[in-house]
Subunit: 82 residues, 4 copies
């Protein structure tokens, strides 16, 4: 009688363990997937930021060239006596 | 004798189940943490993008105003007969 | 006889004087016209220059605003940790 | 007696003619000077205008390049899905 009870307990535990291990595997898959998405997001962000930095440097150049043009105009107006 | 063997199996399963459930809880915590980080990343990205969009609109305005200034200069040079 | 010679000289001188005075009047008209054109040219130049100076100040403003925009973009990129 | 009167008239006319011719020469000098100043003014104006035209073309170029930069930023923001 006690053996039968122990066997029932063992089977129940064995099944619950299987279920828990399955859930474990699922969670590990989800974790891997999320880590992959975070890493992709990070790489995209880095590439986006690199492009932005290039645009910022281009903008710096344009502002510098506009300032040179402005100085040329100011000098032209000073030099002209007409 | 058989009861003693079943009891050993049951205890072993019970311990393994505990360990697996613990691992499960850890994985769920990690998942929650990653999901939170992804969501934060998404909100930061959205806010960053919104700021960028404002700067793009400002840039549009500046380019439009520079074009108006350029047209004023062109008209001034055409109108002037000296 | 001498009186007749003197009269001829007087008449010739009188005619030459008339011609020279006419030429004088023409030259004075041309001078007045040129002086007027120079003055008009000067006023046009002054007005043109005033307009140019306004455009130069506008350009200064635009360059300043582009620099502010550039600084906002740079700060945005620094603050963003994503 | 009449000869003496005629001689006085002739001398008076001769002196007036000299004065008028001198005034003529002065006026012609002034005219030449003014014409030279107008021509110098015209050449300066032309050179000034040529320089302004170059600056206008430079400004066109800068506005075009800022517009390209703006389009690059807009495309970057559209392409980015993060």
């Amino acid at each position: 009688e006690k053996a039968s009870q122990l066997q029932t307990q063992r089977d129940s535990l064995s099944q619950k363990l299987q279920e828990t291990e399955l859930r474990n595997t699922e969670l590990e898959c989800q974790l891997l997937d999320l880590e992959q998405r975070l890493e992709n997001r990070r790489l995209e962000s880095e590439s986006f930021r690199k492009s932005l930095r290039s645009l910022l440097e281009l903008l710096d150049g344009k502002i510098f060239q506009l300032t040179e043009l402005r100085d040329s105009l100011a000098k032209l107006m000073e030099s002209d006596s007409s």
